[in-house]
Amino acid sequence: MAEKTTDSSASAAGTKQAADVEMSQYVADRERVNEDKIKQDDKIISEFGEYSYGWHDSDAAGEAAKKGISEEVVREISADKHEPQWMLDYRLAGYKAFLDKPMPDWGVDLKGFNAQDFKYYVKPLDKQAKSWDDLPPDIKNTYDRLGIPEAEKKRLVSGVAAQYESEVIYNSIREDLKAQGVIFLDTDAAVQQYPDLVKKYFTTVVPVDDNKFAGLNTAAWSGGSFVYVPKGVHVEIPLQAYFRINTPAMGQFERTLIIADEGSYVHYVEGCTAPIYSQDSLHAAVVEIVVEKNARVRYTTVQNWSNNVYNLVTQRAYVKEGGTMEWVDGNIGSKATMKYPACILAGPYAKAETMSIGFAGKGQYQDTGAKMIHLAPHTSSTIVAKSISKDAGRSAYRGLVKIVKGAEGAHSSVVCDALLVDDYSRSDTYPHVDVREDDVTMAHEATVSKVSEDQLFYLMSRGIEEKEAMGMIVRGFVEPISKLLPMEYALELNRLVELQMEGSVG
């Protein structure tokens, strides 16, 4: 095991050159990371090869809930939430769009999917808890195991939203941010408390009839976050949302709306887990983001649904002049994911990035990608999509870059890297490009590689065991994405990827 770091600068006699000092600090930092990693590895080995979020709590609310969707169910949800008429109207329009729109005949296999198989509204508590201790012991225990209250206590987050089934059962925001006018609420509460703001933006980024599942979400939505960051306010530490499904055959339809007013900044991080069941569950969220002039929003997902969850999510941002939108997307779990975070670059010099990593293991299909719509001059977009497939898992990059006439000086760059760990897995790329303007610069690069024998041999010839060598190569592949994540999530992502990689060397 590694030795403890002592004073690493004491060794030099006399004056050191600046570069040396920098170097020694750097090396010392890396040592620490390395030691963390070694500790982590021990933890990984002790948790060997299991999905570690597969437990479930007792479940009276879930058992009582009925399955299936109908206009009546939609009306019931709205009535139970005491919603204004305009919101019910949106729901009904969403339901109609859901019925009218065809099932996608591309992407993941949805043949076994039946919308009537899911529970649409499961309300675990009568009202939101004011503190973690107010929660039923089972549920509180679940969040303790996920480490959420602790992160809040350590102030690693600016605010927490915990959604359990259909409801946000706990929501908090730091007082100082609240005092600056930052709003961070569950969307249901926002409809009651800020109806004008919600009405102003709701469905403006993702229209009611955008696609079948956006329609279904609009009809049945419950929970999700409403975030408003006033002009010039920078929320330096992330807002953290945690989505948990507990009951079997659950349909979770959170609806998130984030508005970053001029010159503001916010980073929203969501994590997702569920128990392992033989029945499938459905997660069909809609996320709408408005990035006002010169504002910047980063939205990070580390999705680790159990392998019985359909994850069919619509995420889109509308970016105004000089604004920046960043989607960081880790898709590790789920049975099937279809998710293509989109940015509409509506004002000049708007910028967008999508950085994603998908992991497709046994029985998994990750159909993910990005859409960048350039509507204004000098807009730029970057897509970096990485995937790892193993044990006959399938992953696909599906992307669209659209540049309209008049978007002069637009720039787009797309890099897709697929890593196949064995001969049975599969990776496909579907890059669509629609460019109507001449004065643009575009770059596209796609690689599919296998973990190479030469790389493994090189590391092994330096004394590194095969399993660790494979882990290093895969971590290295993921590194450009994991370094963008908050520390805990970066460690989590590495850990998840390594768990998934267990048994791939043999």
């Binding site: 095991m1 590694a2 030795e3 770091t5 002592t6 004073d7 690493s8 004491a10 060794s11 570069a19 040396d20 920098e22 170097m23 020694s24 750097y26 090396v27 010392a28 890396r30 040592e31 990371v33 390395n34 070694i38 190479s452 024998e453 030469d454 790389q455 041999f457 090189y458 590391l459 092994m460 010839s461 330096r462 004394g463 590194i464 065991e465 095969e466 660790e468 060598a469 290093m472 190569i473 971590r475 290295g476 592949f477 993921v478 590194e479 450009p480």
Partner: protein
Amino acid sequence: MQHTLEIKDLHAAVETKEGRKEILKGVNLTVHSGETHAIMGPNGSGKSTLAYTLAGHPKYEVESGQALLDGEDLLKMKPDERAKAGLFLAMQYPVEVPGVSMTNFLRTAKTEVDGKAPAIRSWVKDLQGSMKKLRMDPKFAQRSVNEGFSGGEKKRAEVLQLELLKPKFAILDETDSGLDVDALRIVSEGVNRAKEDNDFGILMVTHYTRILRYIKPDIVHVFADGRFIKTGGPELADELEETGYDQYLPEGSDSESALA
């Protein structure tokens, strides 16, 4: 401590598109600690194959023979076990590993080879010192393993590993090729430094004689068509300088006499 590397009648083959091809056709060699053996021979004669086979690259299949390090059979070990047993191969074409930083890689390797993590203070000092002497920019420590390194930088990074990992036997596969005069000197000095510190045995594979000006061989071998065909003292290198490899090539082969 005195160590011995013995290669006995080693035959190895590789699977090619045209079928199985035997490349090593009975290699015999004994190297002791402190000795420097130059292995010279024409391109394609199997020098790299010998190096890879000793280090355990999965592409090369041993058909018969032995390779013993202090009596232990290397050929039964996985590549990492061979490294732990004290074998090091500086590769002709070092491999890029994106996203894995040099420091992380070096420290992991050092920890594995030694069986324990190096004491932080001396490790940082050793790493910095070796990099400095090899005229490597400290920034290299942060870069991914070999990624985007020039040919010469890759070779320096190999010698850096040699210095840090302190093996019992080092195989240098054309560590001199692709280097300009200054780089050749720096790299050679690195090898000599490492040898002074650790007194390991060296198998120095080279196509050209110029590196022998910096790293003095005790024994020179000519390797052609999968085996050693001649062994002599340093004077054999001078002779090769004069005559080239023509005489050692099978009839009808292209001549490859470009000796620097």
